[in-house]
């Protein structure tokens, strides 16, 4: 099938290998992948800031560009949640209300798409390492993504998954929260990294690069050897 890839702005500019991994995975499965260059951002930072009017400007462009019937896959829980859950609210009682709902029905977070929509858990991947998994809050609580990443990781050859304590605790990124309340964001990240480090894992995996960006920033500053990596990158390994 034809799959529309929604690549979040930070994945595009900071972590392109995540997007590249997703492309490779879908093409290996025999699907055609499309990427709409016209879209840069889902608008979440403005939405979370309370600037809903301005967000509609960005989001309208997303609605128009992604019009159609192909599924839209997003390798980020937070951006997927923005389009899937919040666009309908954002556009309620506007002319784009129906388009927002229609798009929402076709939007999926990456791991959820693989497992729930394609029914696939085994991608023939190999990643020989001990890893631990962080559940990004939007994916977890907005989209109910919890089992799917684990089902996928379970099938990766030579990979050992060790669950950390407080695996569902927020990492502290929270978008602009990370720079508006940096001391709280850091404290939360410290708690999360400590839980991850305690597992003795070599890699900290998540389905959201925004969380990983924040945690990696802390880990690097502390000269920790623990490396962060996105789920898609693990699954694309062989």
């Amino acid at each position: 099938m034809k799959i529309n890839l929604f690549i979040p702005c930070f994945v595009d500019q900071l972590f392109p290998s995540v997007g590249i991994s997703v492309v490779r995975i879908f093409e290996k499965l025999g699907h055609t992948v499309d990427f709409k260059e016209a879209i840069f951002c889902c608008g979440q930072p403005l939405f979370n800031g309370g600037y809903w009017e301005e967000t509609r400007g960005i989001a309208t462009r997303v609605l128009e560009t992604l019009a159609g019937s192909d599924p839209v896959v997003v390798p980020s829980g937070s951006c997927a949640a923005m389009v899937k859950n919040f666009y309908p609210e954002l556009f309620r009682k506007t002319p784009q209300a129906e388009a927002a709902v229609q798009l929402s029905e076709r939007v999926f977070e990456f791991s959820s798409f693989l497992v729930d929509q394609l029914g696939i858990t085994d991608l023939g991947s190999r990643f020989p390492a001990k890893v631990t998994f962080h559940d990004g809050c939007h994916g977890l609580r907005e989209l109910h993504v919890k089992l799917q990443p684990r089902q996928l990781l379970e099938r990766v050859k030579d990979l050992t998954l060790v669950e950390m304590e407080d695996q569902t605790s927020c990492c502290g990124f929270g978008g602009t929260f990370a720079v508006k309340f940096p001391m709280i964001s850091t404290a939360m990240g410290e708690t999360k990294s400590a839980s991850a480090l305690e597992t003795g894992a070599e890699y900290l995996v998540s389905n959201d690069s925004s969380c990983l960006m924040h945690l990696q920033g802390l880990l690097s500053r502390q000269n920790q050897k623990l490396k962060t990596i996105h789920l898609a990158e693990v699954l694309a390994s062989s």
Binding site: F35, G43, R141, L218
Partner: protein, 464 residues
């Protein structure tokens, strides 16, 4: 521009997040709560179904509040209760002070009531010359320390037994001890006489039962029972949103409040009070006054989007799971209601512009919404408060920045080129850390910046 309350919040956050000892203490306390709660919650056949049932009952109550309040008051009044409708805190305070004067009261004893904290009742009584003693152990402790309660349910959660022992040594001249049992007995002895001496007992109410015209009080120590039974006059203070339709509803709410509040199946004492001593009863207060408090609750009721915040049963669960609360502590909020529920309702109770910062001090993780026994859409209401704050008075600099960003997103190719160019400045940012503008500065104070990729995804896409 930060309001001074917002600035204070940030300063307090900076102080408390840097205090690793404090963080560890709160973490330990909340971990043991989590363990107790998970154990009790797993004993429910279907906790999610219980939440749905509880929120449905609350929805019914809140959406027909006028009818249920009327029924409630009629039944109470029929038994001789004096009901007073207080539009705001001032009216409620004035009523209690006038009553104390009328009764020639010298000593007043209180059981725990966050509503009384909300209207600063103790302060008003003290200023009018009345001695007010808190009988709940945690409240008694923070009263001795002259500080606000740290948590809705656990007022002295931030104190170790050693700190409490030191406090009792200083204020009550008792020998030091680190036994919780001995500390409790010290407080018990100090308070015993106070119950007997008190002319007026002031309590809160966890629920108001419309069907039978009674207030329901949930507690673990028995101090509310003594407070409401021994003095000749009992005054209860209750927010209007506490009314629930039927007595049978307590069969759901009492266990859920206990489970979510402390991890207990049910608290040690649960009392129903429907009026003063009746002709055929042998004891009880001669007078029972119930003050029904509005204080902006009807404003929140009028907000169809956020009305469910009135479902709150003040269990404190949202505080317990909130990662912000865990790290900044209860006093940082600097207002009666802390944590997620406090962040949602305080703008409605005390003004949006002054209190919007609480709604921004959240990563929107949603743990609060997930845990709330009455299914208040807490974290989404934080978003709604943010939207309302911007609609009322946006920050010009922030709005400009967001509008500029929104405009630039129409030109992804341009943004892409700018990002590639900025890579050359990356090494400089590490060296020039202290000169960076606030958003970036906030990041690099504790975190390394993510590297901007040499080739972006869209570069890859174009060239593949």
């Amino acid at each position: 521009m930060l309001s001074s309350l917002a600035a204070k919040f940030k300063n307090s956050s900076t102080k408390f997040t840097a205090d690793l000892g404090h963080r560890a203490k709160i973490r330990t306390a909340l971990k043991s709560y989590e363990k107790a709660r998970n154990g009790t919650q797993s004993q429910y056949q279907d906790w999610q179904a219980a939440r749905t049932a509880a929120s449905t009952i609350k929805w019914e109550a809140i959406n027909h509040l006028d009818a249920y309040l009327t029924e409630f008051v009629e039944k109470l009044t029929a038994r001789g209760t004096k009901v007073f409708w207080a539009s705001n805190g001032q009216e409620a305070r004035d009523y209690v002070v006038a009553l104390a004067k009328e009764k020639g009261a010298r000593s007043i004893i209180k059981s725990k009531s966050m509503t009384s904290e909300e209207i600063h009742l103790n302060e008003a009584l003290r200023q009018a010359g009345y001695e007010v003693v808190e009988s709940d152990l945690g409240e008694y402790i923070v009263q001795l320390r002259e500080e606000a309660p740290y948590h809705l349910v656990f007022p002295a959660m931030h104190l170790t037994r050693h700190e409490i022992s030191d406090l009792f040594q200083e204020k009550l001249h008792t020998p030091p001890t680190d036994s919780p049992e001995e500390l409790t007995m010290i407080a018990r002895r100090a308070l015993r006489m106070k119950y007997l001496e008190a002319d007026i007992g002031i309590s809160g109410a966890n629920f108001g039962i419309a069907e039978t015209g009674m207030i329901s009080i949930t507690e673990n120590e028995g101090n509310a029972r003594l407070t409401t039974a021994l003095p000749k006059v009992h005054v209860a203070l209750m927010g209007i949103e506490k009314v629930i339709p039927k007595l049978a509803d307590l069969a759901l709410f009492l266990p859920m409040l206990a489970t979510a509040g402390t991890g207990q199946q049910i608290t040690c004492y649960n009392s129903l009070i429907g009026g003063p001593r009746q002709p055929d009863e042998t004891d009880g207060p001669e007078e029972f006054h119930l003050i029904l408090l509005d204080n902006q609750r009807t404003q929140l009721l009028a907000d169809a989007e956020q009305r469910d915040a009135l479902h709150c049963i003040r269990c404190g669960a949202c505080l317990n799971v909130c990662p912000i609360y865990r790290n900044v502590g209860g006093h940082t909020y600097a207002t009666t209601y802390q944590g997620p529920i406090g962040s949602v309702i305080t703008p409605h109770l005390r003004g949006l512009m002054d209190w919007k910062h609480l709604s921004y001090a959240s990563s929107l993780c949603g743990a609060c919404t997930e845990t709330c026994p009455v299914k208040i859409d807490l974290h989404h209401h934080l978003l709604h408060n943010r939207r309302n704050a911007v609609a009322q008075q946006p920050d010009p600099a922030e709005r400009f920045a967001f509008r500029a960003f929104a405009f630039l997103t129409r030109f992804p190719g341009l943004l892409n080129r700018l990002a590639r160019l900025s890579r050359h400045f990356m090494p400089l940012t590490n060296a020039a850390r202290s000169f960076l503008p606030p958003p970036v500065k906030g990041w690099v104070a504790s975190r390394d910046l993510p590297p901007i990729a040499a080739k972006s995804f869209r570069d890859y896409w174009r060239t593949r």
